[in-house]
């Protein structure tokens, strides 16, 4: 066997210990340097609510919050996230911080297969944290990195629009 093969495989075997705060809890993970954060979240931490749709940052299915900001977890190596605070759809659901968005998506059926939905919700939350009263064009623009093949987007826009209005009426809840 050639030395090259052995090197390749040795490198693949090496792992690094990363420490994260995921959904409010301290966790440590043994990851390979080449593991992306989305793979770490899904495979190691079994947080399968975060999805991998394109693995190149184009579809938005893998969006999570890193230190409070929406980030493509497929474009971040797990080792890069060492020390970060990460909130996934599971944590955002449990804390209730996006409960109004989830209820409005449900009421208006702003989802079909649900595969894009966690990323949509993370991005909607990001938008509403920056702009309190976005108009429909701004909502459509903000969602332009989130691919949905099922809905045609309109009910998603409607749901975010309704939540934006409700939040600003309620003094910027959540």
């Amino acid at each position: 066997m050639s030395g090259f093969d052995q090197t390749l495989l040795d490198e693949a075997d090496e792992t690094v210990r990363v420490r994260l705060i995921v959904n409010g809890r301290k966790v440590t993970c043994e990851v390979a340097p080449r593991d992306t954060l989305v793979d770490c979240l899904r495979d190691k931490l079994e947080l399968t609510g975060t999805h991998a749709g394109c693995e190149m940052g184009a579809c938005g299915a893998c969006l999570v919050q890193i230190d409070g900001r929406a980030v493509h977890s497929c474009l971040v190596f797990a080792v890069q996230a060492d020390g970060a605070t990460i909130d996934t759809i599971e944590g955002l659901s449990e804390s209730g911080v996006i409960a109004d968005l989830q209820a409005e998506f449900h009421r208006r059926n702003a989802l079909q297969c649900g595969f894009c939905t966690p990323g949509m919700l993370v991005n909607a939350q990001e938008l509403l944290s920056r702009v309190t009263q976005p108009n429909r064009e701004e909502i459509r623009d903000a969602l332009s990195g989130n691919y949905c093949r099922c809905t045609g987007y309109e009910t998603i826009v409607d749901a975010i629009d309704a939540v934006a209005k409700a939040r600003s009426k309620g003094g910027g809840a959540a």
Binding site: M1, D5, L8, L9, A32, R34, R42, D43, E46, L47, T48, G49, T50, H51, A52, G53, C54, E55, M56, A58, C59, A61, T88, I89, E90, S93, Q102, F105, H106, R107, N109, L111, Q112, C113, G114, F115, C116, T117, P118, L121, R136, E137, I139, R140, D141, L143, S144, G145, N146, Y147, C148, R149, C150, T151, G152, Y153, E154, T155, I156, V157
Partner: protein
């Protein structure tokens, strides 16, 4: 003052009501269970080495270096899997003369498209499996690739299948009435050649499968992201020679399907074989690049068509030639010729003319297979027909609404048979046209368009009528010899606590199957919807049925649930009558209570009937055997298909400097018969329209001259995103089918059927002042500028 009572005001009336989907909350909380999420004990991961050539002979495969790699459990080639899997052929008997070469999970000696899986590696992780692929050496000897549709048809052309005489898969011809005579005497003839590019489903969750063969039990369990678990149970059983009862296919949540995930894929068949060879669970999830080169593509048609009209604009005849290229094989088990077949049979469908001739030629080429994807054939038939109608209108100086109003089959003229042999029970073109005209505020749109033109702003308005095929009978696949069921089955139980569990063969892909089935059951039995649990997608649990495709879930699955519920209700009332010493006919069920049918006075909760039947049968009269579980099957009878119809409209703006098109607003009036859940029907229409808009403007699988897909990633292949999509205005006309009690037809493909035709007509309308025309989809900025002679 209160509003008048409607049928929706009685208790438990759910048919016709917009209620949210009970199962959507899980998905919103990130608790979906997709096959790509699944991890089983001792599970291994498969990866595939793919062909870099569009056509080549496999001279040798050297995988010696891989076998020694730690973590690799198996390397398998076509020959290895052919020992345990019988080949398949994608032909159907009713497509006479159709040919296709036999297919194996992995190729034996030749690759026929770039991206075809050649060697499988199974390892302890996907990463190790992919590393190992790099150590495999395959020697290929290049063969001439058939890429272009014209060169494929030339005499002496390179052959996709060396054993055949030419590259033809199938030819078909329709000829009805006196076409030549009609054209000879026509006052006007319009003619055009249309091109429809290849595009693909791009489901957000790629194809995913976990095959788990347990040699000790001789049992194969496959967790499969598919629409059709029973079809795959049958296929895995027959091709791997495992008794059907020992094959279980489970479909849990699925991240989009749209017809793409009901075909046999080589990798999926291989994964089943790999699990059998290893006796362990094996998982394969296509990555996005693999999806683009291995998921079925759709369309790829070139249609030459002409239409003859009389002096007043009445359509007299159509003459059509459809050429379509399908890849190297016809897809199994539904074939790759259904799209072409539906193109030539649906052309002209909304209109009242009798002279029709069409030829269809289906060609092999060295690309990935095409096959059924949402709205099979409809967008092509619709675009060809509707563009010709607009061309005729322009020639005659008629408004697009006027020429259609003049030619559509009148709403009171049904039943009708089309010149292509389709039998229409009852359609509503006139009502839909009228409604669309009002909804668009058409005169205002036209006035605005004229006004803006003066200022150099070029708006286009387009409309397109359509007919959609839904609720297929065995005439679709069964008569062709495919073991694809057109019936559905349900098992319905009153549980000991008085709730209802419905296990039904139609499946859920997010369109709301489980929601509408629970609405129908709750409505028909007389209980609250939250007391109905619907179970789908497990061949070991749910009865055999067609599942979900060709817009059959609501119409056929819904009727199955309705009839099953009525049977259960009869059984419940029989027991209630014994307990209450009444006649069953004097009783009814309202809100979970047995009541006097006449007075609605509550008599007994159905939970009490369940308690007595399950736990105190000793208190029932001797000889009583309560049947609180019923199983029921329903196969469509009467019309072979339940055709639906509708019309779409759109307004858009063409930037004549850049060729960019901005969609302003889209409209649809649709008639799917009985509407069970208006919110979900609207969602189907919107989603379908947006897929059609993607096809109209963005989506195309582009190939190089050597047969390489050059835009196979989500950065290069354009899909419709929210910012480019318009709001969509929806209205309904309801013409229920009389073939079922429920009266529902399908709705999943109506949006896709006419959206691209509508855009094509609107773009041509916008370009009319420049004398420029476009007859090719997708309508890219480059095509617009070329048409304007600015590029």
């Amino acid at each position: 003052m209160s509003a008048p009572l409607t049928s929706l005001d009685r208790p438990n009336s759910y048919i016709g009501r917009s209620v949210p989907r009970p199962n959507a909350k899980r998905l919103l909380a990130g608790r979906g269970r997709y096959v790509s999420d699944l991890k089983l004990p001792r599970m291994l991961y498969a990866a595939f080495l793919r062909s870099p050539h569009a056509h080549a002979k496999i001279v040798a495969i050297n995988s010696e270096r891989v076998r020694a790699v730690e973590g690799v459990h198996l390397v398998a080639t076509g020959a290895d899997l052919a020992k345990i899997c019988t080949p398949w052929t994608g032909t159907l008997d009713h497509f006479k003369g159709m040919t296709s070469a036999p297919q194996w999970p992995l190729p034996l000696d030749r690759v026929v498209w770039a991206g075809q899986a050649v060697v499988a590696v199974v390892a302890e992780s996907r990463a190790i499996a992919e590393d190992a692929l790099e150590l495999i050496e395959v020697d290929y000897a290049d063969l001439p690739a058939v890429v272009d549709i014209d060169s494929a048809r030339q005499a002496g052309a390179a052959l996709v299948n060396p054993d055949s005489a030419n590259n033809t898969c199938f030819r078909s011809q329709l000829d009805s009435g006196a076409v030549d005579e009609a054209f000879a005497h026509a006052a006007h003839v319009v003619e055009e050649e249309f091109c429809f590019g290849r595009h693909t489903a791009v489901t957000l969750e790629p194809r995913a499968i976990v095959a788990d063969y347990d040699p000790s039990a001789g049992m194969l369990t496959v967790h499969h992201g598919t629409q059709t678990p029973y079809q795959f149970q049958d296929l895995y059983s027959r091709h791997y020679n495992i008794p059907e009862a020992r094959v279980r296919v489970i479909t849990t949540d699925i991240g989009g399907s749209f017809g793409m995930k009901l075909h046999v894929y080589h990798e999926d068949m291989a994964v089943v074989g790999l699990s059998i060879l290893l006796g362990r669970p094996v998982k394969y999830v296509a990555d996005r690049m693999e999806s683009f080169v291995s998921d079925i593509h759709a369309r790829d048609h070139r249609v030459r068509a002409r239409m003859a009209l009389d002096a007043k604009g009445g359509i007299l005849a159509m003459d059509v030639e459809d050429l379509t290229a399908i890849g190297a094989f016809s897809t199994y088990p539904r074939t790759s010729v259904v799209e072409g077949n539906q193109v030539i049979r649906l052309i002209g469908a909304p209109y009242r003319f009798k002279n029709y001739r069409a030829t269809l030629e289906v060609i092999f080429q060295n690309k990935v297979q095409t096959s059924q994807y949402r709205a099979v054939g409809h967008p092509i038939a619709c675009a060809v027909t509707e563009r010709l109608v607009d061309m005729a209108a322009a020639k005659l100086g008629l408004d697009p609404f006027a020429i259609r109003a003049q030619n559509v089959i009148a709403d009171d003229a049904y039943p009708q048979t089309s010149p292509t042999g389709y039998r229409f029970e009852a359609l509503s073109h006139q009502a839909c046209l009228k409604r669309l005209h009002e909804m668009m505020d058409y005169p205002t749109l036209r006035a605005e368009q004229a006004d803006l033109r003066k200022r150099g702003i070029h708006r286009g308005i387009g409309i397109a009528t359509f007919v959609e095929i839904t609720n297929p009978s065995p005439a679709f696949y069964g008569v062709g010899g495919a073991r694809i069921s057109s019936q559905d089955g349900a098992i319905l139980s009153l549980t000991p606590s008085g709730e209802v569990r419905c296990m039904i063969s139609v499946t859920e892909q997010g369109q709301g199957t489980e929601a509408i089935i629970s609405q129908i059951v709750a409505d028909q039995l007389g209980i609250a919807q939250e007391h109905v649990k619907v179970v789908t997608g497990d061949t070991e649990v749910t009865p055999h049925g067609g599942a979900t495709w060709a817009c059959r879930g609501a119409g056929i699955g819904g009727e199955t649930a309705l009839q099953a519920t009525r049977a259960l209700k009869r059984n419940i009332l029989e027991i209630a009558a014994l307990i209450l010493q009444e006649q069953p006919a004097a009783l009814d069920i309202v809100d979970g209570e047995v009541v006097d049918a006449a007075t609605r006075k509550p008599r007994l909760p159905i939970a009490e009937i369940a308690r007595i039947a399950y736990f105190r049968s000793d208190t029932l009269p001797p000889g009583t055997q309560a049947q609180l579980t019923v199983s029921h099957h329903f196969a469509p009878q009467g019309y072979p298909f339940a055709f639906t119809n509708g019309i779409q409209g759109c307004a858009l703006e063409v930037d004549v400097e850049t060729g960019l098109i901005k969609l302003l607003k889209h409209f649809i009036v649709e008639d799917c018969g009985r509407v069970i859940n208006p919110m979900l029907v609207d969602e189907q229409l919107r989603g379908g329209i947006v897929q059609g808009l993607g096809a109209a403007l963005f989506e195309e699988c582009r190939y190089s001259e050597t047969g390489q897909l050059v835009n196979g990633s989500l950065a290069d292949y354009l899909v419709p995103m929210s910012v480019e999509m318009p709001d969509i205005v929806i209205a309904h006309v309801e013409t229920p089918t009389a073939d079922t009690v429920l009266g529902a037809k399908g709705v999943g493909e109506a949006g896709t059927a006419a959206a691209s035709a509508c855009v094509l007509n609107a773009v041509n309308d916008a370009l009319a002042p420049f004398g420029a025309t476009i007859n090719s989809i997708p309508i890219t900025p480059a095509k617009v500028l070329k048409a304007l002679k600015r590029f």
